[in-house]
Amino acid sequence: MNFDDETLMAYADGELDGTARAAVEAAMAADAALAERVARHHELRRRLQAAFEPVLTEPVPQRLLAGARGAGSAGNVIALKARAAPHWSWPQWGAIAASLVIGVLSGALLLRRGEGGPIVAVNGQMLAGGVLASALSNQLASAQPSDAVVQIGVSFRTRDGAYCRTFVLQDGQALAGLACHERGSWQLQVLAQSEPGRGGAYRPAGSSLPPAVARTLDTLIAGEPLDAAAEAAARTRNWSRGQ
């Protein structure tokens, strides 16, 4: 008796009822080639399970445990727009940062005020500074060294024409964020902890966007991301909106 492959597959998966199962088993007993086909199905399942079984015994990351406890992701995501009212003074900002941001951003990074640091607070806005500002202004995603401290991901325009870019910054820990060019500086829209590349290898920036950053991107983007030519052209215009 001949069986099509879907029937043999269903047999191997334990999906056949008693009569059909008995028919396949009788045929297998008489036909080594048929038995071999079934054995291949079993073997594939065994290999797949073996390949993914180790995941079950890995420690579950804290962020997932916290999430499942209902702590949400507020612990490692900062929605900068919501937090930073434009008129806040530095001391207020510092207090907010101290209560909300430290622990995520290892504190020192943010609180390095003024020149030099990759993130600076000015008049209640978080702006890119130092290497981050430089990378956002100058680095092209299509031509960046894979070991650069800042990896640029996607560049795009918002509905009102501003240019924004996603990035991953390696500064002790990996931070992923999105910044938009406004009035001559890069204003951070969201910043979230990202897992660092393993074994010292940096990951391509776009592929490791944490969900909060990806969501912000999806909210802000108008149309499609810039392609390499449009990205280079925007840089030439210093990321100004143009007409």
Binding site: E53, L65, Q151
Partner: protein, 159 residues
């Protein structure tokens, strides 16, 4: 009626959610992002879980939907990615044969989305055809044909 408290069961389910997500995404980082999104959505929509539903199946459905959303969103972004070095597979060398594990994971990543989902749900998560079809929101016949094609492709890739 208040939503049931899913949290203890959800915590217990995390290892399986991570495994399922890993099978779909192929790397630990994206998979854990997917699980995080799933957990947030599950808690937010706990009220929609019918009393007779299995939490696992319902949550796998959320993983699937979130993954598909992410694939669509990512499709818009991928053009600009710096050419990905595909050394993305992070495997734990202490478990079994590393090369074998990577070969299987790599092969799975080459399947089209719907075949990968079918294979992950039935062959890795061990769900029945009926359960898997329900999660994928397709008839059982569609599930079996995707599963058969996925299997065939994997056999080709892995022999």
């Amino acid at each position: 009626m208040p939503a049931p408290d899913l949290r203890p069961e959800l915590i217990a389910l995390l290892p399986r959610l991570r495994r399922f997500a890993r099978a779909l995404c192929g790397n630990a980082h994206d998979a854990d992002d997917l699980v995080q999104t799933t957990v947030e959505r599950a808690l937010k929509h706990a009220g929609q879980l019918r009393p007779d539903s299995q939490l696992a199946g319902w949550t796998f459905g959320i993983v699937r939907n979130a993954w598909i959303d992410e694939q669509r969103a990512r499709g818009r972004r991928t053009r600009l990615f710096a050419p990905a070095e595909s050394g993305e597979h992070v495997a734990d060398a202490t478990h079994g044969s590393q090369a074998e594990l990577l070969a299987v994971q790599e092969a799975l990543q080459r399947l089209p989305e719907e075949q990968r989902l079918a294979v992950a749900l039935v062959l890795i998560e061990g769900l029945s055809y009926k359960e898997a079809a329900h999660i994928m929101e397709v008839p059982v016949g569609t599930l079996t044909s995707r599963l058969a094609r996925g299997r065939e492709a994997l056999q080709e890739l892995l022999t």
